[in-house]
């Protein structure tokens, strides 16, 4: 219970901090730090629940697919430049963004990830990599500012950061496949 309160507290503390400062005025802070932090807190909260055998989970979140989909669509929504811009200029929208990053991205991922298997995780990882590459490319090449409040140079910098992150994550995901891990191999159960 204390752990759960801790992660909720962390998310709240960040949200208060971000609202009262100009932290999210930087595009890199917004996308790479704020999103990651809120998702991580939600993830840790979600993974602290053991709901795999709960009837509601069995009914609605088979192999964690529903949770992963909710998280994917929510994250994709908040990557749309217009919504990013609105969140950066309107405190209420900013709060909704923080809340949804925590509860609709991090939390469902935390609840679902342990239930998912190799194929689902692999699919999510590939989609994450391709999304980072697409966004990075778009931010890098866009001749105009996608969000009026962020400068063009910062946008390009974020593009490079996302592309670098994609490369780093690719290596991170590939490494375990080249290392023999019998324990991991046992977890590779068949099924979607």
């Amino acid at each position: 219970m204390i752990e759960r309160i801790f992660w909720i507290f962390c998310a709240l503390a960040y949200s208060l901090f971000a609202i009262n400062t100009n932290f999210e005025a930087s595009m890199i802070n917004n996308v790479l730090i704020a999103y990651t932090l809120l998702i991580y807190c939600g993830w840790k909260l979600g993974s602290s629940f053991d709901i795999e055998q709960h009837w509601l989970n069995k009914l609605s979140n088979y192999k964690g697919i529903a949770g992963v989909l909710i998280a994917s669509f929510t994250l994709a929504f908040w990557m749309i430049p217009n919504w990013m811009e609105l969140a950066a200029s309107n405190t209420q929208i900013q709060l909704i963004k923080h809340f949804s990053m925590f509860t609709l991205v991090g939390l469902p991922l935390g609840l679902s990830w342990s239930q998912s298997n190799f194929v689902i995780r692999g699919f999510v990882k590939i989609e994450l990599l391709s999304m980072l590459l697409r966004l990075g490319w778009i931010y890098l090449i866009s001749p105009t500012r996608l969000c009026n409040i962020y400068s063009l140079s910062e946008q390009a910098l974020l593009g490079k950061a996302l592309l670098s992150l994609a490369v780093a994550l690719t290596l991170y995901y590939l490494y375990p496949l080249f290392v023999d891990q019998n324990d991991r191999a046992k977890k590779l159960t068949p099924g979607l």
């Binding site: 699919f123 590939i126 391709s130 778009i138 866009s142 496949l177 191999a185 068949p190 099924g191």
Partner: protein, 492 residues
């Protein structure tokens, strides 16, 4: 070889659907190809706009259908060594069919005619011939097919990694580099590992580029770099079509031992060839971009070197292995084994014009000629499709399946009928002749992707049409046989 377990009903039905659909689409698209050549030969009249629609349908359908048929080969043999999850086969098929419907709709209803390569910025420049919606349907169709194959190859990866623990073990690196005395991984595992590595990376590149083209269709101010887009498109497409051969060749590794009563020995040379090709197959695609003057020189040079080096090791180990396993084995030929041996020839011979085209000095003058369709038609028609037909005929010639497969005793074979023999040799003659006419046209500087030809070029197309008719006739006989006998196909 591990004792064979019967295919479960669902897996068998799915594999038979893959086989049946592939056989029928191959035939239909060969007819489309024949219509295009007959049109270039001025034997029939096809409006240019419709010609390019046919070309788009032919190229796109042949590539994805080859992928479908080849994945059936991979799955069928891989399940002898691993525990595969059958519903994945159906998910892949469902996404494949949905994607194909979208693609065909985009072409024949929406008028999309931007070729299977959908090179940026062509999809958004329909010039009134096709709409943004038609281009969207084409791109989304390809995306859906890509998603299906991604799920398929992730399942292949899972199954192999569960049995072998890691990619190096599945590729036999401990035996290759550390002189490990562990048993060599079976050829199917080695090939399957290579295929899932390169195809997952290829599909990742395709997923990036397809979505960016899609965004550009609706937000034109996002102008992606055309050359980078072309690189990613070719990385995706070239790897995918190459990998179909690497899946189909599993049929050679698995079936020739059954016909000869000998084992296909995996040795260090075999492992080294597959490991080398796993890396090099991803680096050869720039031989299709040598005419893009803005490409860095080092990429063109490395593409030439890798193109020379990539195909040869695998072909040597496969052709050598096939010849030695058959030599003095007393093999009783049937339609399947004969097609597999013809396929080895087709693959080996087809690589020669490919290597010639990958030579920078030649490419500069030959790449936009019919030499290019010549090289890939050679190893796809005489190599890949022959392998796939061999597998399909093996599947339907299943009356002897009650006899367990004994690695030291050849399986009983069905003698070839006159129709089989004729169809196979007519197909072989037709496919070699048809490909050679492309190559000869290329040397005469006949350009590719032209709906209408100058009078001086028509004779090449006319001869090609005759050979194309042979292929269609032979395919008709083989496909009718395959489809009719599908319900009685193997259960093992």
């Amino acid at each position: 070889m591990s004792p064979l377990q019967p295919l479960n009903k669902s897996a068998r039905l799915a594999i038979l659907c893959y086989v049946g659909i592939s056989a029928i689409v191959f035939l239909l698209m060969m007819i489309v190809g024949l219509v295009m050549r007959a049109s270039q030969a001025q034997l029939i009249g096809v409006p240019p706009q419709f010609f390019y629609q046919l070309m788009t349908a032919h190229g796109g359908s042949m590539i994805v259908t080859s992928g479908l048929a080849a994945s059936a080969v991979l799955w069928y043999f891989l399940r002898r060594y691993t525990n595969l999850y059958t519903p994945i086969l159906w998910i892949n098929l469902g996404l494949f069919l949905t994607g194909v419907v979208l693609i065909l709709g985009s072409i024949f209803i929406g008028g999309f005619a931007g070729a299977w390569t959908f090179l940026f910025p062509l999809p958004s420049h329909g010039l009134g011939i096709w709409s943004t919606g038609a281009a969207t349907a084409f791109i989304v169709g390809l995306l859906l097919i890509g998603v299906g194959f991604l799920i398929f190859y992730l399942e292949v990866a899972r199954a192999i990694l569960k049995e072998y623990g890691s990619i190096p073990k599945a590729l036999g690196w401990p035996q290759l580099f550390k002189n490990s005395s562990d048993t060599m991984p079976p050829a199917t595992i080695v090939a399957g590992t290579m295929v899932f590595i390169v195809n997952i990376l290829g599909i990742l590149a395709g997923a990036v580029v397809l979505v960016l083209i899609l965004i550009n269709l609706y937000v034109p101010r996002f102008e992606v770099d055309p050359l980078l887009t072309k690189n990613l498109t070719y990385f995706f497409g070239h790897v995918f079509i190459n990998a179909t051969i690497y899946q189909a060749v599993i049929a050679v590794y698995e079936l020739l031992p059954q016909y000869t009563g000998r084992t296909w020995k995996v040795n260090k040379v075999f492992l080294a060839a597959w490991t080398a090709s796993s890396l090099m197959v991803m680096a050869v695609y720039p031989h299709h971009l040598m005419m893009d003057f803005a490409m860095p020189s080092w990429m063109a040079i490395s593409a030439q070197i890798f193109s020379y080096a990539n195909g040869i090791p695998l072909i040597i180990v496969t052709a050598w292995g096939a010849l030695t396993i058959v030599h003095r084995s007393g093999i009783k030929w049937d339609a399947a084994s004969l097609l597999l041996m013809i396929a080895i020839f087709g693959w080996s011979a087809g690589v020669i014009p490919a290597i010639i085209d990958a030579t920078v000095a030649v490419n500069k003058v030959m790449h936009n000629t019919l030499w290019v369709p010549g090289h890939f038609h050679f190893y796809l028609l005489t190599g890949l499709v022959a392998m796939l037909l061999g597998f399909m005929i093996y599947m339907i010639n299943g009356d002897d399946q009650s006899a367990p497969i004994n690695p030291n005793k050849p399986i009983d074979v069905k003698p070839m009928t006159a129709a089989d023999t004729s169809a196979i040799w007519v197909y072989t003659l037709g496919s070699i002749g048809f490909s050679m006419m492309f190559l000869i046209s290329g040397t005469a500087s006949v350009p590719r992707r032209w709906a209408e030809h100058f009078p001086e070029w028509i004779v090449y197309s006319q001869v090609a049409t005759v050979f194309g008719s042979f292929i269609v006739l032979a395919m008709l006989i083989l496909v009718i046989k395959i489809v009719i006998r599908l319900p009685k196909a193997r259960t093992l």
